[in-house]
């Protein structure tokens, strides 16, 4: 089920009413309702893949209990390996089988031998990369003795399948989310209203900004050889705001929905395009994934404690794995590597933690230095997005070659019409609102809270109206569903 669908608009109030009015007296019943509704939410797309979630849940629950009883180091390692093998095995098969197969075939043909492999028509289960990472964090934390395993199977199932964040995150840690299933939730008016506001803002970002930008980004990327460098710059800028609106919008809806049910999820985006360097960007973009890789990959590899070579190796590993996590294509790997190249100078010069606070903190506008570094960082991110969006490495290279040609200095002409200008205008509005709210959890948090209700409500109704008027004529899935 998509957040931006009529089905979800009906599903959410039903679950909300059952949760607070029918199941509110019994914590286990509330958790059971979360599990059932999450399975309905996921099964709406394809019920057959529910078995994967259920299997992962059972394996990690059993492994968790096993780890708690076992003190023998070797046996504990074996148990952990079972969890990692099963979870990454599913991920590897569904996501990477054909990628590795194609590359083997290419490699063999390079050396002159022809092989005819059995490529499979594998359907990628929605959200598999998200929930496998979430369950892995559970077993790894128990293995590290940072977490006591749960004996409550329903609470654990609810943690694995919690519908607001099941298919596209934020990837929650068991240490943060699981305890919330043990505690009785009480309804909080302010939290629920703020949750609804965050859902509304997320829908605006997804439906009005991301889906509108997608039309022009697709048009330009799909016909990039027909356009001048200036149009291609516009194309990648449209994609830049498409992916931001899409993914941060999804996160806002997920976090807002969770708050309606009394849960707190971690912030996943913290206004990343206002970053002053690439390290800050990665502390603000898809925070739940970046911190996951930091805690479960980068630090175990040695982090930045070793010598220069180790720092370089670990940085490349983490960024390339992050790229590969996004998709089984060389374009994602290069995107990851490019970000590693951006990041390394800061790490080696020990400047990667220079910008820990907010830009223009306590001020209305940034100073010249901040503005320049923000634009420079934004430019670097935009260039990397070309690889992320392109169909192939050749496509990305040609795209960038056209951008950095003399045609960059021509007037951008493409068949976007008035719709493109409106999209640019709305994106500018988004940037202004996000800038104004950059020190909050999300741009509209506590927005105009002291203003008269009529002003706030008028603004919300205008947002709803714009969502109604400017939404795509077909239901558009979130980009990150494919990851």
């Amino acid at each position: 089920m998509l957040f931006n669908s009529i089905d979800f608009a009906v599903f959410l109030p039903i679950v909300f009413i059952l949760y607070w009015f029918v199941a509110n007296k019994h914590l286990r019943l509330q958790n059971l309702l979360v599990v059932v509704s999450s399975y309905i939410f996921y099964g709406w797309w394809d019920w057959r893949f529910l078995s994967l979630i259920l299997f992962s849940t059972i394996i990690d629950y059993v492994v968790g209990l096993g780890l708690s009883k076992e003190d023998n180091k070797a046996k504990r390692k074996i148990l952990l390996c079972i969890s990692i093998f099963v979870n990454l095995g599913f991920l590897g098969f569904f996501k990477y089988y054909n990628f590795f197969l194609d590359n083997f075939v290419t490699a063999f043909s390079f050396f002159g031998s022809e092989i005819r492999p059995n490529s499979l028509n594998v359907i990628l289960p929605v959200g598999i990369s998200f929930y496998t990472f979430q369950t892995l964090s559970y077993t790894i934390d128990i293995y590290r003795r940072k977490l006591v395993p749960t004996r409550d199977f329903i609470a654990f199932s609810a943690f694995v399948s919690f519908f607001p964040q099941l298919v596209a995150g934020p990837i929650e840690r068991a240490t943060h989310l699981l305890p919330q299933f043990y505690r009785k939730r009480s309804f909080d008016y302010n939290k629920a209203v703020d949750g609804l506001r965050q859902i509304l803002w997320g829908l605006f970002k997804k439906i009005v900004i991301a889906d509108s930008c997608a039309v022009y980004a697709n048009q330009i990327f799909n016909n990039s050889s027909d356009y001048s460098g200036s149009v291609l710059v516009l194309g990648v800028l449209f994609f830049t705001f498409q992916i931001y609106g899409d993914f941060s919008g999804y996160s806002d809806i997920a976090i807002g929905t969770s708050r309606l049910f009394g849960f707190d999820l971690m912030q996943n985006f913290a206004f990343p395009y206002f970053s002053r360097d690439i390290a800050e960007f990665w502390r603000r973009w898809h925070i739940s994934l970046s911190t996951w890789f930091r805690d479960y990959l980068y630090i175990p590899l040695g982090g930045s404690r070793g010598g220069v070579l180790m720092k370089i190796k670990n940085t490349f590993i983490i960024f390339i794995v992050s790229g590969f996590w996004h998709g089984a294509n060389w374009t994602f790997i290069i995107w990851g590597a490019l970000n590693a190249v951006y990041f390394l100078p800061l790490l080696l010069l020990n400047k990667n933690r220079n910008n820990l606070g907010n830009i223009a903190h306590g001020k209305r506008f940034p100073d010249i230095k901040e503005l320049a570094s923000m634009f420079f960082t934004f430019g670097a991110v935009v260039i990397a997005w070309v690889f992320f969006r392109a169909d192939s490495v050749t496509h990305a290279v040609n795209y960038l070659a056209t951008i950095f040609s003399s045609s960059l200095f021509t007037f951008p002409r493409f068949a976007g019409g008035g719709g493109a200008w409106i999209t640019i205008f709305l994106t500018a509005c988004l940037i202004l609102v996000e800038w104004h709210g950059r020190e909050r959890q999300y741009a509209l948090a506590h927005w105009c809270i002291k203003r008269h209700r009529a002003i706030r409500w008028s603004f919300y109704i205008i947002l709803i109206f714009l969502i109604g008027m400017l939404s795509s004529t077909t239901e558009t899935p979130f980009i990150y569903f494919q990851f």
């Binding site: 008035g418 109704i461 109604g468």
Partner: protein, 312 residues
Amino acid sequence: MKRFIKTIMIFAFFTVIVYPVLLAFWGDYAPYYLTKTINYKIGSYGHLYSRLQNIKEVKDVDILFVGSSHAYRGFDTRIFQEHGLSSFNLGSSAQTPLQTIVLLKRYLNKLNPKMVVYEVNAEGFSSDGVESSMDIIANDRNDFGSIKMAFQQRHLMVYNTLIYGFYRDIFNKNKDFKENIVKGGDTYIRGGHVEKALQYNDRFEYTVTNGQKWDFNGKVFKRQLAALEDAFVLLEKQGVKIVLVQAPITQMFYRCYSNNHEFDNKMKNVGTYYNFNDLISLDDKRHYYDWHHLNTVGVRIFNEKLIDLISE
């Protein structure tokens, strides 16, 4: 919680009032690229507006035709008249069973047919019917049936178009609208048929993918099949005979799908059914003007054969 529910109800109340007002204003004055989700196209493709004006002058027919463009382009009421059969063609662009039931409920009593020829095709049963719903909303006066149809569609564009449609109906905004009888190569013929000036299907080059399959297990097909069965219940209650007809399309395209026989079986389970792709032999170039619409030569062969069958 009480406070929350109360706030939500009051906010919803204001939204329900303000949204249609803004929408009406937007629909009237916003440029076309901002009104994609209000797809209100009165007098658009298919002459539905003229057909529904024409229907006011017609009653008590022998045969009523319903269905998609295959119906309004494929059943020529003049040919049936030549055989002494009065008829009306209530086909509309991309009409699917979900819209047919709405139109039948609106016009069945007035037209009082002895028989309904219900045009069916696998593509229509695989379609959500959004396009056709908006066509009907824009070209007919809206009622409770339109609301029911919109809720079955579960599509924002249909809701917006319906709200705008009600606004135009209430304020009689279409009173001065007149649709041209001749549009492009299409001429509206009294009785509901749309005739294409004689052309042959040799102007286009097509590429086809063979071995495709229709999905007869999906939610869309099941919803459409349920709507067809509802139509049967409605018509049988009134003692109206029903014949399901699959109009011919070019063999080149018909054969692209390897499971057409499954559709035939499903239709045969519902009632009397004729698939003209198997019943008559037509030439892909000489009897069609595009890949799925008959030209006037093809229409005559098709209609003569249908008259033979229903006379039996």
